[in-house]
Amino acid sequence: MAPVGPRSGDAIFANVERVNAELFTLTYGATVRQLLTDLEEVEEVNKQLDQMGYNIGIRLIDEFLAKSNVTRCVDFRETAEVIAKVGFKMFLGVTATVSNWDADGTCCSIILEDNPLVDFVELPDTCQGLYYCNILSGVIRGALEMVSMKTEVTWIRDVLRGDDAYELQVKLLKQVPEEYPYKDDE
């Protein structure tokens, strides 16, 4: 097969199978609701959502690389751009922006203006500590771990808590060198 260049998020999004947005939103809502009922503690729900996201992320990265044809990123800056512009577009249909870089380029913020997960949602008083979209941070962490980057992803801003946008802070902890049985010619 002839080598193809990286595809844009929009091009991939136009070709993937899609589901009804409300079905998706309500399914995710039902999941969170059930977790709240089962685990009772909001903290535990946050942890569980993150874990679920991680499990999604470590699988999703394969699909992402297969469909997007992105080439190896030279540095973490490029990685973050690809996540925001291609990754989010491909799987959620929204684009994010990257900003707030620190000096050594290991920590940045991914800002989402629009988030399909939270349509209709309003946090009641009993769930004030809940990070409703915590699954997203897990997905990013899981996906990056599979491409040998240990990261820490935390929420900085959340519209459900009264902020004006969704801001995820992605912090690169370390780059795990690729280990031996790794054959360069494969």
Partner: protein
């Protein structure tokens, strides 16, 4: 704007899940209880009437002195009841329809348990704004 108006939402299992006094008249101390009493007394009539028509808006179904009870029944049998002293059927109908839309948004919130009390302050503000606009 009506001088007296009281709006409540009653869930399908006869529990009031939202109440608001939306009139502009100076509050009498016992007014709230009186209003609730009249509205609750009208529930029986609603129960009979709801199955005789396919319309959601049941118009004025009961009166008490100069106060009138208008009711709107959703498909899920949640009842919106408005006690008012104004005669403005069109305004009331629009009020109910818009509140219905707000109520659907509340229902779609996965963190809201259907049939439980509506505590959202956003909903409260919106309903009061609609009351000012239509009643």
């Amino acid at each position: 704007m009506a001088t007296t108006a009281c709006f409540i939402i009653v869930s399908r299992n006869e529990i009031p899940i939202y109440e608001a006094e939306v009139g502009s008249a100076a509050k009498r101390e016992d007014a709230a209880q009186l209003h609730q009493f009249i509205l609750h007394a009208a529930l029986d009539i609603v129960q009979d009437l709801a199955w005789t028509t396919s319309a959601m808006f049941l118009k004025a179904i009961d009166r008490f002195n100069d106060l009138v009870v208008s009711v709107y029944v959703t498909a899920g049998h949640t009842r919106f009841m408005l006690l008012h002293d104004s005669r403005n059927d069109d305004g009331i109908k629009s009020f109910f329809q818009e509140v219905h839309e707000l109520y659907i948004k509340i229902l779609l919130n996965p963190l809201y348990l259907p049939g439980s009390r509506i505590t959202s302050s956003h909903f409260d503000t919106k309903v009061r704004a609609l009351a000012r606009k239509y009643l």
